[in-house]
């Protein structure tokens, strides 16, 4: 069943998707719902004008959040919005999850755990640090990375569902996580 058949209109499909997965970014919405970019821009503008969707710019991504409806759905707190928008991106999500589950660790162990290169890791750590979600302490080989607010990460992980994994995602994860 197509998205259009299921929800009637693109606007409804878009709104339902954002309400179900708050913090999802534009490219991900386009990929998941197969909405043409022009149509997506138009509906986002329209829904934004009606206050049903709000946009937040986070690390070069345009992240969408459902608007607050008085008496029905309260607004998502600022701290949760910041972490949610990061958790919707693959590498920041892997880094935050590793730090949350394993606790403070060295950058090299972190890079190995999420299978990413040094420059890529450095780029994402800087972004996460700038967003105020983690802190790098110490110098050289003594350097440690830790979450600033693990409690909020815990709350966000419990409160909001992750994006569903498709067959291609599972296939990719299986082969990528395979270590020699």
């Amino acid at each position: 069943m197509s998205v259009e058949e299921r929800s009637g209109t693109w606007a409804e499909a878009l709104l339902t998707f954002v309400q179900r997965y708050p913090g999802v970014h534009l490219r991900e919405i386009r990929r998941r719902l197969s909405i043409p970019i022009g149509t997506l821009d138009y509906h986002l503008y329209r829904l934004g004008k009606e206050g049903l969707i709000t946009l937040r710019f986070q690390g070069g991504y345009k992240c969408c959040f459902p608007g607050a409806v008085p008496g029905v759905s309260p607004p998502i707190p600022e701290a949760e919005q910041k972490i949610l928008s990061l958790l919707r991106q693959p590498v920041p999500r892997a880094l935050l999850l590793h730090l949350y589950l394993e606790g403070p660790t060295t950058p090299s162990a972190l890079g190995e755990a999420v299978a990413t290169t040094g420059p890529n890791l450095s780029y994402f750590l800087k972004r996460l640090e700038a967003a105020g979600t983690l802190r790098r302490e110490g110098q050289g080989s003594q350097r440690i990375v830790r979450l600033i607010d693990p409690k909020t990460v815990h709350q966000v992980l419990l409160k909001y569902p992750p994006l569903p994994e498709g067959t291609v995602d599972r296939f990719l994860r299986f082969w990528t996580e395979l270590h020699p």
């Binding site: 299978a115 067959t167 291609v168 995602d169 296939f171 990719l172 082969w175 990528t176 395979l178 020699p180």
Partner: protein, 90 residues
């Protein structure tokens, strides 16, 4: 029981399944390009080509069983090399 048509169907099945997994590999490679994903997709496509070639060979009866076996062995060897290299790279 005609073993030739059974073998033919089995290799056709291998070709179809290999093609499906190869397509999945290509989609995964498009999503996150890496040498490993390229090799995995190549490996599955090799299986698809092997299935198709052997199936056509059996169907047309133009090739001797020895030639088909040799061809199969060649594809299997290439597949093993591709998958082995895929485990070494990321």
């Amino acid at each position: 029981m005609d073993l030739t048509s059974l073998t033919n169907a089995a290799f056709a099945g291998v070709a179809v399944f290999g093609a499906v997994l190869g397509a999945l590999g290509l989609l995964a490679f498009r999503r996150a390009p890496s040498p490993r994903m390229a090799l995995v997709a190549t490996g599955f496509l090799l299986i698809a080509v092997q299935g198709a070639v052997v199936s056509i060979g059996l169907f047309t009866s133009g090739w001797s069983p020895t030639s088909l076996l040799a061809l199969s062995a060649l594809f299997e060897a290439a597949l093993l090399v591709v998958l082995f290299v895929a485990t070494l790279v990321r």
